[in-house]
């Protein structure tokens, strides 16, 4: 297909899509007039029922927790898929970690980069941990916290070298943490079943003060496991990508 024909096909498809979009839009309430009974019902009930003041977390990890299990396993499958796609192919060999061209003058990482990365690593771990453990309180949770925890490992790479990153996050350990995170979420859900409750029923004590760290029962616990899973998955993904550029060399290299 020539680019010209491609543009014609694209134009036709967009015209069709635009018609459907306008049709759909005509049935929507205007911006700011959302009537949604479901969302408002949750807003009125969530704090009493779960003792979590973060209603978005209550939706994610309790009311629609089953969706989040599936969504977390998308992440799990994507990380596993990356490991498979970026494996060492036939004809490729893994370069040794020793510098093979010691005589070549490679510019070292600048002192400023190393300094900033080192300074930020500690605070980033604290922020990530804080986010992962405060889902029940405010706009935070395992997803955000996990991504920020993974950033700490990227900072380690920036401040040091790839081998330092590998020492901080060995593949076997990262895999295990990811599996514990993903399995923990599913297991908390199953744990409610022998008690005669529905899957992912919040069976833990809800605590006294709404929004306290110890409140909201399983919401806090699930958020913690999601933090582990997301953090480990992203460390794994970054590690695989770096492996690809730094360690694996092709047939002709």
């Amino acid at each position: 297909m020539t680019p010209g024909q491609r543009r014609w096909v694209f134009g036709l498809a967009v015209a069709g899509l635009a018609a459907f979009y306008l049709w759909g839009l005509s049935g929507l309430p205007g911006f700011g007039d959302y009537p949604g009974p479901y969302g408002f019902a949750i807003l009125h009930l969530a704090v009493q029922q779960t003792n979590a003041t973060g209603v978005v977390s209550a939706v994610n990890f309790d009311y629609r927790g089953f969706d989040t299990v599936g969504e977390e396993f998308i992440l799990f499958a994507a990380a596993a898929g990356i490991s498979v796609v970026l494996r060492r192919l036939r004809g490729e060999r893994e370069r040794s970690a020793i510098d093979e061209a010691a005589d070549r003058d490679v510019p070292p990482t600048s002192g400023a980069v190393r300094m900033v990365a080192l300074l930020f690593t500690g605070p980033v771990v604290v922020v990530g941990w804080w986010l992962a453990s405060h889902a029940q309180t405010n706009p935070s949770g395992g997803f955000q916290g996990g991504v920020i925890l993974a950033t700490a490992f990227v900072l380690v790479y920036l401040a040091g070298e790839f081998m330092v990153l590998r020492r901080f996050s060995p593949v076997a350990l990262t895999d295990a943490v990811e599996a514990v995170g993903a399995g923990g979420f599913a297991a908390i859900g199953v744990a409610a079943v022998p008690m005669g409750r529905a899957y992912l029923y919040d069976f833990l004590p809800l605590g006294q003060t709404p929004g306290a760290v110890s409140s909201s029962g399983t919401i806090a616990l699930i958020s913690f496991f999601v933090g582990l899973e997301v953090g480990a998955a992203f460390v794994l993904i970054v590690g695989e990508m770096l492996d690809q550029t730094l360690l694996i060399r092709g047939r002709d290299a």
Partner: protein, 114 residues
């Protein structure tokens, strides 16, 4: 009745789709896919918005203060994470495609494999 946010959605979606259709580079194509997906965030948050309402967090505001719909916000949150993971997976496909065929131009990739 205000429709401006939905016009923004259509614009982001259109720009992204145009980029995908005309792309000459796999990494560019993947970024265009992210743009397309970004339109879903605007759509979700736009649908759930209530004029004059606050974010659905009751830590330091009285209970029953009008808030926006928390369900679409939860959807947008998970959407972001999945997008990041799927993007990484697609980029790893791009790496392998480049290794195998020596090009990242999707139109050349088609002619190579038929």
């Amino acid at each position: 009745m205000q429709y401006f946010p939905f016009v923004v959605v259509a614009w982001i979606l259109g720009v992204g789709l145009y980029g995908i259709a005309t792309s000459r580079h796999l990494v560019h194509l993947i970024i265009c896919l992210i743009v397309v997906q970004s339109s879903t965030y605007v759509l979700l948050l736009g649908v759930g918005y209530v004029t004059g309402a606050v974010a659905p967090y009751y830590y330091d505001i009285p209970a029953h203060t009008p808030a926006v719909d928390p369900v679409v916000q939860a959807l947008a949150l998970t959407d972001v994470v999945v997008e990041a993971a799927v993007t990484a997976l697609l980029l790893s496909f791009a790496i392998q495609a480049h290794k195998r065929f020596g090009t990242l131009d999707p139109q050349e990739l088609v002619s190579l494999k038929g």
